[in-house]
């Protein structure tokens, strides 16, 4: 079967069974909106994979991809929730109106920040991970990376400066 033919078969199977695929996703992720996100990702994944894989049963393959992505998304959301619970424990922000619910991070912001951090030099990113995630002091980071504390200070400042550029001008 040619790649083009296989792609067409998969697309046809996906479209024909899209309602059942969405139901399968919804059972795992819990709501229609998230199920739609899964379906979109699955469609892209299926179209892409059809170039590389010989797929014997297009319908089964579509369900397999949807289930895999739905489970992945559920795990990710559970881990996010776990992260926020830990992050806010004992780190109360001293402002009466602020609560975890108000610190909602949408997907667009997360994607922008991922891109921003990915553009940093690898060593700067490594220093920033040790600072932000591991909570290490700049002196300890310098020792671990074998560089001067001054250089670490510059790298951390560069990372923070990059994050400051992720501001949404419509918000403030």
């Amino acid at each position: 079967v040619s790649n083009d033919r296989q792609r067409q078969d998969l697309q046809a199977a996906f479209i024909e069974h899209r309602h059942r695929l969405r139901q399968a996703a919804q059972r795992i992720v819990g709501n229609r909106h998230l199920a739609e996100d899964v379906l979109q990702s699955a469609y892209l994944r299926i179209t892409d994979a059809s170039v590389h894989l010989a797929i014997q049963q297009p319908v089964s393959y579509c369900f397999q991809v949807v289930r895999h992505l739905a489970i992945d998304q559920s795990r990710r959301r559970a881990l996010e929730a776990q992260f926020f619970a830990a992050e806010f424990e004992g780190h109360a922000v001293p402002a009466p109106q602020t609560s975890p619910e108000r610190t909602v991070i949408d997907g667009q912001l997360l994607a922008l920040i991922e891109e921003t951090l990915a553009r940093l030099p690898a060593r700067t990113r490594q220093a920033f991970i040790l600072y932000r995630i591991d909570g290490m002091t700049q002196r300890a980071i310098a020792e671990q990376l074998g560089v001067s504390p001054t250089l670490v200070n510059f790298m951390i400042k560069d990372a923070i400066e990059a994050l400051k550029q992720c501001r949404d001008p419509t918000e403030s």
Binding site: E87, A95, E161, K164, Q165
Partner: protein
């Protein structure tokens, strides 16, 4: 979301507080009082602080997810 004005003093102060909170956990009583006073002084202060805090949280989440899932633009 786009480029921010590097010379926006309010935005810079908001970030100074976010970083200070990261480095000094917990803040001293006097620092907390100073921050609270600044937040209450102007609603724009609070908005800037909240947005800076959200970006700071999202940065941690992005790095954390990258290490958990070993995928995405942060893994190379």
């Amino acid at each position: 979301m786009g480029r921010a004005d590097r010379n926006d003093p309010r935005w810079n102060v908001a970030w100074d507080w976010v970083i200070r909170q990261h480095e000094q956990q917990p803040l001293t009583e006097s620092a907390r009082a100073e921050l609270t006073q600044w937040l209450k002084a102007d609603p724009a202060n609070f908005e800037n602080y909240q947005q800076a805090h959200r970006i700071w949280q999202a940065a941690a989440l992005a790095l954390w997810l990258a290490t958990k899932f070993s995928s995405g633009p942060l893994v190379n």
